[in-house]
């Protein structure tokens, strides 16, 4: 149905080595991508060292609540007197964890499914593609909501739900790449020289399909982070005592007329993270000459 996937342009065939080297070339010549990389590095640093960086305990309450931004509380405090800056810094952990882990899982299984479908063809292709087509008919976020409806909320379930929701994107790209690459002469050469199916897929096909998969993975991380934030916001995410950006904003709803800072800063954190990933993804897309990727 009407969805787009990544399509490789004319310049797509590069060796894996030049792709690795060129990642830094992308960032160097593209100011947007540079901004993205720096911002993401800062957020990653926050996530790893959150307990040491955060000025206060993110769960420590105080009777004096909703203090406006001040020197002691740079971003103010929330309705239970908890320091907002510390909560946002700790929230980085869940966002990045969910963003990266879900895409890693979806990439692994999705690419495996797509490569198997494209390489073996026949009934393997038919069974896998029937499933993928079914999933393709629905937006990822809706699939994630459906799955949380069945599994229930909680961090692990959210990761499973979002990973499953992204499966079809990677499977489709991998399959279409394999279908093109399969016809290349070097694949026949490898086959004639006695390489096993697995070796051909792993050593000869995958390295040449990397570019569009990287671009899709980058975009998917941004959607996964938005998805997690939305699920948390709706009360379908992690447990309610964990500070996450979506949850802080959900709590903020009742107080926005009295304490604007609770409603603004966590959203700025989400936007900056997603914007950085989009900038980076855009730079990579231009560089690898992969056409516009779309997904929801």
């Amino acid at each position: 149905m009407t969805k787009y996937s990544t399509v490789l342009g004319t310049e797509g065939e590069r060796s894996p080595a030049s792709q690795k080297a060129s990642f830094f070339a992308v960032v160097k010549k593209d100011k947007k991508a540079m901004f993205g990389l720096i911002t993401l590095s800062i957020f990653t640093f926050f996530a790893i060292f959150a307990p040491w960086i955060a000025p206060h305990d993110p769960t420590a309450m105080d009777f004096e609540m909703m203090i406006a931004p001040s020197l002691e509380f740079p971003l103010g405090t929330d309705d239970l007197g908890r320091d907002l800056l510390s909560r946002i810094i700790h929230g980085t952990q869940i966002s990045l964890l969910v963003g990266v882990s879900t895409v890693a899982i979806a990439l692994f299984f999705g690419v495996a499914m797509g490569v198997a479908a494209g390489y073996f063809g026949g009934w393997v292709d038919m069974i896998i593609m029937r499933y993928i087509d079914l999933q393709w008919a629905f937006p990822n976020f809706i699939i994630a909501v459906y799955l949380v409806a069945v599994f229930g909320a909680g961090l692990l379930n959210v990761i499973v739900a979002i990973s499953l929701a992204f499966l079809d994107d990677f499977a489709r790209i991998a399959r279409s790449m394999v279908l093109t690459i399969k016809e290349e002469q070097y694949i026949s050469a490898a086959r004639v020289s006695g390489a096993s199916d697995f070796r051909i897929m792993w050593r000869h096909i995958l390295p040449n399909a990397v570019a569009p998969i990287i671009v899709q993975a980058t975009v998917s991380v941004s959607y996964a982070i938005l998805g997690e934030a939305s699920l948390s916001f709706l009360g379908l995410g992690v447990e309610s005592d964990t500070p996450t950006w979506g949850l802080i904003l959900a709590d903020a709803r009742s107080f926005i007329s009295r304490a604007w800072w609770i409603g603004i800063f966590p959203g700025v954190a989400i936007m900056l993270t997603v914007l950085s990933i989009n900038f980076l993804g855009d730079g990579l897309r231009d560089h690898f000459d992969v056409r516009e990727v779309k997904d929801v």
Partner: protein, 316 residues
């Protein structure tokens, strides 16, 4: 055309059947007894048995499945577990116009912003206006819709008091009350879609402006305005039709979240409240209706697109 149409309708029906089956299977895998959730006192085994028999849950799985499917086809999804045990179909009928109002207004607002923005960006390439459009589009894509909703409430409802912060008023009670309650949510839902469309129009306009027929038109001495409005824009809009499928996806995902911020009792709020309350009949019914909206709007887009561009029909 008719063969294409039959094949696509058949495909859509199969997808709906698969979704209905999955919903049935999955909600029976859920841990916890739905009857225990319905009873105030689950300790009475006779009461549990009585309800089990009454609801037909003591019958074999395939009988339950057949019955459920048969009822669902007729629009009967059972009753809500909570409160006055309202029929799910009634809840859905009340929710549907709210969600459709929100989604269509979001679509209109998004297009009204996106088309001129994309046009200006393309015709004044690399100007300040172009950079501004590109940057704002990036922001629009990166902002979570529920946060944008909160920002809009802070600005236009809590501080300026121009528009109401929450709720929904049916169109029957007047155009302005209906519209005023929907403007902020529609902006929150439509922004991401608007960003996608603006970028798309910009790039497809740039492509069209470079074609041979544009050079011919220009060499005829047509004014720049005629050139853009009658030759370039219509052609640049063709690929945009394909994003209408994406529009449904984005707008429906958006309404699910944003309805919950503005307390609009549409399908999204019904779905989320159903999940939070473990009100399974409501969840099942809403999932089926939301899925049906997707599947058939995708079908509609494919058919429309095949009318605009007949080459589509010959593929696959």
């Amino acid at each position: 055309m008719s063969r294409f149409l039959v094949r696509r309708i058949f495909g859509a029906l199969i997808v709906m059947f698969a979704v209905a089956t999955l919903v049935f299977i999955m909600l029976r895998l859920v841990p916890g007894d739905p009857i225990a959730a319905m009873l105030y006192d689950a300790g009475d085994p006779d009461a549990v048995d009585e309800i089990r028999t009454k609801l037909g849950l003591d019958r074999p799985m395939y009988v339950q499945y057949g019955k459920w499917l048969w009822n669902a086809v007729q629009g009967d999804f059972g009753r809500s577990i909570y409160g006055s045990r309202v029929e799910v179909s009634r809840l859905l009928m009340e929710a549907l116009p709210r969600t459709l109002s929100l989604a269509s207004l979001s679509f209109i607002i998004a297009m009204v912003i996106a088309v001129p923005a994309g046009l200006i960006a393309a015709t004044r390439r690399n100007s300040r206006a172009d950079y501004a459009v590109t940057f704002v589009a990036f922001l629009g894509l990166s902002m979570p819709d529920f946060w944008l909703a909160i920002l809009l409430i802070i600005a236009f409802a809590a501080n300026l008091h121009w528009l109401p912060a929450i709720g929904y008023v049916p169109l029957a009670k007047g155009f302005w009350p209906w519209l005023s309650h929907l403007i902020l949510p529609a902006l929150a839902v439509g922004t991401a879609f608007s960003a996608i469309v603006a970028r798309m129009i910009r790039s497809s306009m740039l492509e069209v402006l470079n074609t041979e027929y544009m050079r011919v038109a220009r060499s005829k001495g047509l004014s720049e305005r005629t050139l853009i409005m009658t030759h370039a824009l219509p052609n640049a809009l063709i690929p945009v039709v394909t994003v209408i499928g994406i529009a449904f996806a984005l707008l429906m995902s958006g309404t699910v979240v944003v309805e919950n911020v503005f307390a609009i009792k549409g399908l999204g709020r019904l779905l989320i409240q159903g999940i939070l309350n473990r009100d399974y009949p409501v969840v099942q019914g809403t999932i089926l209706v939301v899925s049906a909206i997707f599947v058939f709007s995708n079908l509609l887009v494919d058919v429309l697109y095949s009318i605009i561009d007949p080459r589509i029909r010959l593929q696959s």
